[in-house]
């Protein structure tokens, strides 16, 4: 019998391994793609080898099906096929794109004859049906799956597993769609299309990266936060790198530039702040799809210049219509699309923040803010403090004394407003373990509700509370007069227990949101920490110094932000004037550790010796760091040279 002819697979009853869609090679339904199923004597298909060897004992069909049964067998089959496909794909990528890695178990086949076959007129040049044909013919003993293959000149180039080579070489001389096939193994590299990356064949990737980074650097305007990518085709560096030899290469080069731009910044926020404007004018762009990556690299771009390109109509811009939600200014002049009557309306519709189009104002900032609302969920409006404390201003009076005492005399504070039943705990959210509060944090989300710490970190009674407070970093809250620094909500509520044991009493729930300055003891840095604090006030027991007491005090600490420079640390106290309330001469809250830290920090900031720093802090400044720093700056000229640790 003559060699099998054509893609219709004369003799073979083996279905295609490829599952192609080409009409001439369709190998049947999904079920037929599997290898020849084994059948038992009754013609039943065994579910898997295990079940074939061990007939089910009793009514355990359920387990055979559920655990290792049909699904298992089929899964293994398809997953191995998938794995092979992936391997083939990857190896092909390696072969054509990099051409570098030696692949010991891969061989390259060169197949001639497709050009002369009838299949050559197919849309893909007949490649797919040829591969189907080869798969089918070669899979006599075991299924063989082929990779994608490429047509280069008169040949089809194909990477295959070494083990499959003999099976495929056997097909040499077969007739495929009226043309004889020549199949040979070769050591020649597959002639590439994408084998040339932007850097040309010799240069290394790192050099390319450096060159591209230099291009980016030279095109970045730091004042305007503008990345000028206009007329890239005229860029000598890029041109010399061969970045524009083809359309595909030009797009790749642009992607590479975008990738480098993105990796250059540590966080999206930094990127956003660093690049606010981009121009890609005069780049011969026909469709924004060619530079689509820009939208993903810089999603919050404010100004974009597309002028002088070749965008013909709105369909060439549609790919970006769900991008650039922050775009305020857009220039498209010099593109044919601008002549269309509905062009401005469409741009305004697509880009909700757009205010200036081709130099004309199309929206006010307010209108833009309103338009953007339709695109993203927006936070609820914020109102100032809501004080409903029953007309006696209990909350204002209480808080007015509370925070200045918390900053200066925590022991006295605990004695005044807390009794044996008062509870205090703090909670630091998910912040890193390095902060001073971490070991006391009663965050039920992180320690777990059954942890013993839920008891240990609940501080009950004024003594325990004062003891804990003494261990916490020194703080400085802004004055309550600065209303914008504080959000205080409070209201009264019924049904607290009356301390007399008779009936119930009204309580006052106060929730405070603000920030305080804090010297972080672990880093010896001054910084600001946001916090919220929830108080439950109730009537005091008889004989207490105040008619009300704190029943519950929950402090929630937020992120701590360091102050950038020592200068900032000096300026910051302006927000928090020294309280005029009588303050004890020696704040009890400062333990020796905190003092040592303050001394160290003052040394660092002033260059004074530890001894002089201590004197400066202990003197008129009364362990107030900012006062000490201020007095240092005032008296700097009078200080003897030996006050400084090293000659200035």
């Amino acid at each position: 019998m003559a060699p099998p002819t054509g893609p219709r697979a004369g003799r073979s009853n083996r279905p295609s391994q490829r599952g192609g869609t080409h009409s001439g090679t369709r190998g049947g339904g999904i079920g037929k793609r599997r290898g020849t199923p084994r059948t038992d004597r009754d013609g039943d298909v065994p579910m898997d080898s295990t079940s074939a060897l061990n007939p089910p004992t009793g009514p355990s069909a359920h387990s055979a099906r559920g655990n290792r049964g049909g699904r298992g067998g089929r899964g293994t089959r398809s997953s191995s096929r998938l794995a092979q496909n992936v391997r083939n794909y990857v190896s092909e990528q390696d072969g054509t794109a990099r051409n570098a890695k030696p692949q010991p178990n891969k061989a390259t086949l060169k197949i001639h004859g497709l050009k002369d076959s009838k299949a050559a007129s197919n849309s893909d040049g007949g490649l797919r049906s040829l591969l189907d044909f080869l798969e089918r013919k070669s899979s006599k003993e075991r299924p063989i799956t082929l990779g994608r293959g490429v047509i280069r000149g008169d040949h089809v180039w194909l990477k295959v597993n070494q083990a499959d080579v003999p099976h495929l070489l056997r097909l040499n001389g077969y007739t495929y769609a009226t043309a004889p096939l020549t199949i040979e193994e070769t050591n020649e590299p597959i002639p590439g299309q994408g084998s040339k990356s932007t850097d040309g064949p010799e240069s290394k990737p790192s050099e390319t990266k450096d060159k591209l980074l230099a291009v980016l650097a030279s095109r970045y305007n730091v004042e305007q936060k503008l990345l000028d990518l206009s007329a890239l085709g005229a860029d000598q560096t890029l041109f010399s790198m061969g970045a524009f030899e083809s359309k595909a290469l030009a797009e790749k080069s642009f992607k590479a530039l975008m990738r480098l731009t993105a990796t250059h910044y540590d966080s999206p926020a930094e990127k956003e702040a660093g690049i606010q404007a981009v121009t890609i004018a005069n780049n011969d762009i026909h469709d924004v799809g060619e530079v689509f990556t820009l939208a993903h690299t810089l999603p919050r771009l404010r100004r974009l210049d597309l002028s002088g390109n070749k965008l013909e109509d709105l369909s060439k811009i549609t790919k970006w219509r769900h991008e650039f939600r922050s775009l305020e200014e857009l220039h498209i002049v010099g593109n044919p699309v601008t002549n269309l009557p509905n062009y401005p309306t469409q741009m305004v519709e697509w880009f909700p923040s757009l205010q200036i189009l081709d130099g004309r104002r199309v929206r006010t900032p307010e209108e833009a803010a309103e338009a953007l609302k339709a695109w993203f969920p927006a936070p609820l409006p914020r109102l100032p403090s809501n004080l409903r404390d029953g007309g006696n201003n209990v909350a204002s009076t209480f808080l007015g004394g509370f925070f200045s005492m918390y900053d200066h005399d925590r022991l006295a504070l605990a004695r005044q407003f807390y009794d044996d039943d008062s509870a205090f705990s703090l909670n630091t959210g998910t912040e890193s373990a390095s902060n001073a509060y971490h070991n006391y944090s009663r965050n039920l989300d992180t320690i777990g509700v059954r942890n013993l710490s839920t008891q240990q970190r609940l501080f009950t009674g004024s003594n325990l509370i004062a003891e804990l407070w003494a261990r916490l970093p020194a703080t400085r809250h802004p004055s309550l007069d600065l209303a914008e620094e504080w959000q205080i909500d409070c209201h009264t509520f019924p049904s607290l227990a009356d301390p007399s044991g008779q009936g119930s009493a009204m309580g006052l729930a106060i929730t405070v949101y603000s920030r305080f300055e804090e010297v972080d003891p672990t880093q010896q840095l001054a910084g600001t920490r946001q916090f919220s604090r929830s108080f439950i006030l109730g009537p005091s027991k008889p004989g207490a110094p105040h008619p009300y007491r704190v029943i519950s005090d929950e402090l929630t600490l937020r992120a701590w932000t360091p102050q950038q420079t020592p200068t900032a640390a000096v300026q910051a106290p302006a927000v928090a004037p020294v309280p005029t309330a009588p303050v004890p001469a020696q704040p009890a809250v400062l333990d020796d550790v905190t003092r040592a830290q303050m001394i160290e920090e003052l040394c660092r900031q002033t260059g004074m010796t530890p001894e002089y720093s201590r004197l400066c802090l202990a003197g008129a400044a009364d362990w107030n760091f900012d006062l000490a720093l201020r007095s240092f700056h005032e008296k700097r000229a009078e200080l003897p040279p030996d006050a400084f640790a090293a000659p200035a």
Binding site: F376, G429, A497
Partner: protein, 187 residues
């Protein structure tokens, strides 16, 4: 030391807090109703004449839980956004803490409950719960999804026993504690 910090009460309050937090933020994130969590409309409290829950949202006093739900709905609006992963509002709880503030809570309690549970049984508790976290706007369903904007949020709830549920022996369903006060701030 008062009954408020009794071991059983501390344990029960922590467990109640966890169950409440899990439920509440799941409802909010799934755009489901949170109204049943408030004291309003619960029979035992209605009968005893308890005032409606005090709800204060970013400084605005809101009359009913339904109005708060409307605000949440308003916050979720993004009619033009085609991408479901840029349309959501997601609350992520990063920490919470609870104190018992009245271990001998009696309001609206059936006599049976007063007889049955002493103040150290971890049942008749009035609690204050603080929850802190981050709220993401214009994001997807999952943690770590990209977002358009984020804020810190802080919720403070005062919770009281839900007699209707606790009273039934072996009650497994329904909220065991109800909100009588809710303070919300997002910055």
């Amino acid at each position: 030391m008062s009954a408020n910090s009794h071991e059983t009460n501390v344990r029960c309050s922590c467990e109640a807090a966890k169950s409440f937090v899990d439920w509440y933020y799941r409802q909010v994130n799934d755009a489901k109703s949170v109204s049943p969590g408030y004291v309003n409309g619960h029979a035992a409290y209605d009968r005893a004449g308890h005032p409606p829950a005090d709800i204060c949202i970013n400084g605005l006093v809101v009359a009913t839980p339904q109005e708060w739900e409307k605000l949440l709905e308003q916050q979720r609006q993004a009619p033009k956004q085609p991408d479901p992963n840029k349309r959501r509002v997601r609350y992520e709880v990063e920490g919470y803490d609870v104190h018992v503030i009245n271990a001998d809570y009696r309001f609206g309690a059936p006599q049976k409950m007063l007889d049955l549970h002493s103040p150290t049984d971890g049942v008749r508790m009035m609690m204050v719960l603080s929850v802190a976290g981050t709220v993401y706007f214009g994001t997807g369903r999952n943690k770590g999804d990209e977002y358009w904007e984020k804020q810190n949020f802080h919720d403070r709830f005062i919770l009281v026993p839900n007699w209707d549920v606790i009273e039934k022996p072996g009650a497994r369903h329904g909220r065991k504690y109800l909100i009588i006060s809710h303070n919300y701030r997002a910055n």
